[in-house]
C-alpha cells in the first residue's frame, strides 16, 4: 500500500511536469519547513532526556567521521569521471556528505507506518551530520588558504534555520520532557504527517522544475545522483551494525548517509565557494537524489538492513 505522503510527492511532480500554476506560497513552504524542523527536534529531544550522553558520544563521533569521509569518496569521482571543475566537484561532494531533513522526515514516517521502532536520538545525529561535509567541501575547493573567513562560515552554518531549529527543538524537548510537550502535541506531532504531505507536494513541484536542467548536465549527474546514495547508505548501515542499533535505527542511519543536503550546504557553499555552480549541485540533490531516496531508496535501505541484521544475527 502506497503511503499517502508519497502520493502527495508524486502529485507535485506531475503538476510540475504539466507546468501547472500550482504553487505553495514560499512563505507557506517556509512555515511548513519550520514546523518539520521543530517537530523533528522536539521528538528527538524528549528521548534524549532518557539517554546517558556517554553512550551517545561514540556514535556521534562515528557519524561525524562519516560526514568527513563521504565527500572524500565523492570528490575524485566527480573530478575524474564527471570532469567537473574543482569548485563544482567539491560543492557537490559536500552536498552528498551532508544530510537532507526532508528525506529523514519521510524515512521516519515510513518506519512509523510499518511499525518499525528506532533509536529516538537520531535527530541529534542528523544535526551532527549537517556540518562536517561542509568543512571538507570548502577545504577541497580552497585548500588551506588563509584568506578563508571561517568565522562567517561557522556563523552561516550554526545560525542557519536548519541547524538552529533542530538544536532548538532538541533542547526544548529535552528540558520540557514528554508531559511538558503535551499541550503543543496537537500542533507539532498530530499534524506532523499532514504537514509533511504539504511539504512533499511542494518538493515534487521543485524537483520537477529541475528536470529540465537535468538535460543540460547530462547522464553522468543522473548516474551519480543514484549510485552515490546507494554507496553512502552502506556506511550508514555499517555504523548501525557497529553500534548494533535496531533495524529501524540502522535504516535511519542509512538514509542519513544516503540523503543529500539542499538547504544548509547550498547556503554555506554560496558564501564560501561562490564560483561553484549552485544549480549543478541542486539539480543533483533535489532533482535526482531526493526523489530517488523518497520513492526507491528508503524502502530499499530498509530491506538491506533487515537482511544485514539477519545475517549478522543482530
Amino acid at each position: 500500500m502506497l503511503d499517502p505522503i508519497i502520493l502527495f510527492f508524486l502529485l507535485g511532480i506531475i503538476a510540475g511536469l504539466a507546468r501547472s500554476e500550482l504553487r505553495l506560497p514560499s512563505q507557506i513552504y517556509d512555515f511548513v519547513s519550520i514546523l518539520l524542523l521543530l517537530a523533528i527536534g522536539l521528538k528527538g529531544g524528549v528521548e534524549l532526556a532518557q539517554q546517558p550522553f556517554a553512550k551517545l558520544a561514540p556514535q556521534i563521533l562515528a557519524v561525524f567521521a562519516m560526514g568527513l569521509i563521504l565527500p572524500l569518496f565523492a570528490f575524485p569521482v566527480l573530478r575524474k569521471l564527471g570532469k567537473f571543475k574543482r569548485a563544482d566537484a567539491a560543492s557537490i561532494a559536500a552536498h552528498y556528505g551532508s544530510v537532507s531533513v526532508g528525506t529523514y522526515a519521510v524515512a521516519i514516517a515510513y518506519l512509523a507506518s510499518n511499525d518499525v521502532s528506532f533509536e529516538q536520538y537520531m535527530p541529534l545525529l542528523l544535526v551532527v551530520l549537517e556540518v562536517p561535509a561542509i568543512l571538507v567541501g570548502i577545504l577541497l575547493a580552497r585548500g588551506l588558504s588563509k584568506n578563508m573567513n571561517w568565522g562567517e562560515v561557522a556563523h552561516e552554518i550554526f545560525t542557519g534555520k536548519g541547524v538552529l531549529l533542530l538544536l532548538g527543538g532538541l533542547a526544548i524537548g529535552w528540558i520540557a520532557g514528554p508531559e511538558g510537550l503535551e499541550p503543543i502535541k496537537p500542533m507539532f506531532f498530530d499534524l506532523f504527517k499532514g504537514v509533511l504531505a504539504l511539504f512533499l507536494l511542494e518538493m515534487g513541484l521543485i524537483a520537477a522544475a529541475r528536470v529540465s536542467a537535468l538535460r543540460t548536465y547530462g547522464a553522468f549527474l543522473l548516474v551519480f545522483g543514484v549510485v552515490m546514495p546507494l554507496f553512502s547508505s552502506l556506511f550508514g548501515i555499517g555504523i548501525g551494525l557497529l553500534f548494533d542499533l535496531s533495524v529501524g535505527g540502522t535504516t535511519v542511519l542509512a538514509v542519513l548517509a544516503a540523503s543529500a543536503s539542499y538547504i544548509a550546504v547550498p547556503a554555506a557553499m554560496r558564501i564560501s565557494v561562490p564560483e561553484a555552480n549552485p544549480s549543478l549541485s541542486l539539480t543533483a540533490s533535489l532533482g535526482i537524489t531526493f526523489p530517488f531516496n523518497v520513492l526507491v531508496g528508503i524502502p530499499l535501505y530498509y530491506q538491506m538492513c533487515l537482511w544485514a541484521h539477519s545475517v549478522t544475527g543482530g
Binding site: Y29, D30, E202, A209, R270, P274
Partner: protein, 100 residues
C-alpha cells in the same frame, strides 16, 4: 536646480547576497537603501523565488554619483563573476539632497 540631482542605483541579485550587499553599500557611503523581493531571469537562468534559494532581491540606493560609482566598481570586482547580479543607475530629482 541641479543641486537636487542624485543617482539612483538599482541592484538586482540573489537573496543570499542581501546581508553582504547591505554591509557593502553602507561601507561605501550609502546613507540608506530600499529592498524589495523579486524574481526574474537572466544569463544565470530563471530565479523564480519558489523557495529561499532561487529568489532575488531588488536593492535601491539613492546616493551621490561618486558613491554610486564606488559601489558599482566594488560589486563588479566582488560579485560579477560568481553571482546572478544586474546593476543599473540613473539620475533622479530628490528633495533634501543633503539627506543622501
Amino acid at each position: 536646480m541641479s543641486a537636487n540631482i542624485r543617482t539612483l542605483l538599482t541592484i538586482i541579485s540573489e537573496s543570499s547576497l542581501e546581508n553582504r550587499l547591505v554591509r557593502d553599500v553602507q561601507k561605501l557611503g550609502a546613507r540608506g537603501y530600499t529592498i524589495t523581493e523579486c524574481r526574474g531571469k537572466g544569463a544565470r537562468g530563471a530565479r523564480d523565488a519558489e523557495w529561499d534559494y532561487d529568489s532575488n532581491i531588488r536593492m535601491e540606493v539613492i546616493c551621490s554619483r561618486e558613491t554610486a560609482l564606488a559601489i558599482e566598481k566594488w560589486l563588479q570586482e566582488k560579485y560579477y563573476d560568481d553571482f546572478a547580479i544586474v546593476v543599473y543607475s540613473d539620475d533622479v530629482n530628490v528633495l533634501r539632497p543633503d539627506k543622501f
